[in-house]
Symmetry: C2
Subunit: 137 residues, 2 copies
DNA sequence: TGGCATAGGGATAAATTTATCTCCTATGCT
DNA sequence: AGCATAGGAGATAAATTTATCCCTATGCCA
């Protein structure tokens, strides 16, 4: 396994939180779990741009950080479900806020992000599924 | 300049927000600016673990994303100040929430983070300055 | 004049994170 | 057999982010 060479900065709450949420798919994963999309295969369908591998890795990290719990059912075919822990749930207000903030400023943000010379192209399509689910409720 | 090879995922608000806040020092920078620590040299003193270079780079990105504004005073020695824009200010509730969440769960988080085999050592010391300033108000 | 403070930025190396590819378990269906 | 579903994980490559180093400029002070 890869071992960090630079000490992790965990001096202030900001850095602690950053460490927990740091991962391309982590906010999306938490969002999915909060909406009861909890089986790996379902999550993958929800986030088609992510590979199974990355999701596994990031789920594992969230689990190690005590944010989610994994339940393995002794069945065949195998069945696994992930659940937010109490601490995991306490993160949701932030996740929701991020979602809302991003949506509220979408037009502006898409414009400035696309002006960035490093960003040659952007991708859309994922997350839409759960957006629709959320709307449906 | 480095040019992205993988399209940026900007489909949902979560990813847009993630893109804006993505950077080791960005939350801390926004926090500093919100507390009126706005000159590069002051910010550097506040975040001694960051190098001048990284702060410049991340400040530039925040500026490009419309989150902060840079004011250059035509003086010698040079004087520069950064300010949160209106949109930048609208991010502060999230930054504050991250700060509070991390602090509220500090004991737990430090424990699980240190159990992570990739994390050999952690660093403390920075951010303390502005924590004290915040308390002072 | 050497050293410090102010501020900025290019080039490059190193660290870290993501992506890709391969292989594994087991059951059931055609 | 061959493919699908369900879930997992090692090895390695590629992409991206951070860290390091070095150089620019002006003015002040000992």
């Amino acid at each position: 396994m890869y071992e960090r060479k630079i000490p992790l900065t965990i001096d202030c709450g900001l850095h602690l939180t950053r460490e927990v949420l740091n991962g391309k798919w982590k906010p999306a994963l938490l969002n999915a779990l909060s909406m009861e999309v909890r089986r790996p295969s379902e999550i993958l369908r929800l986030l088609p741009e992510a590979t199974r591998r990355v999701l596994n890795v990031q789920l594992k990290e969230l689990e190690n950080h005590g944010i989610i719990e994994k339940k393995i059912y002794a069945q065949l075919p195998p069945k696994v479900e992930y659940f937010l822990t109490e601490i995991g749930w306490s993160l949701m207000p932030m996740i929701d806020a991020m979602n809302q903030w991003g949506d509220a400023h979408r037009t502006f943000l898409e414009t400035v992000i696309k002006q960035d010379p490093k960003v040659v192209k952007t991708a859309k399509s994922a997350c839409l599924a759960y957006r629709q689910m959320a709307v449906a409720k």
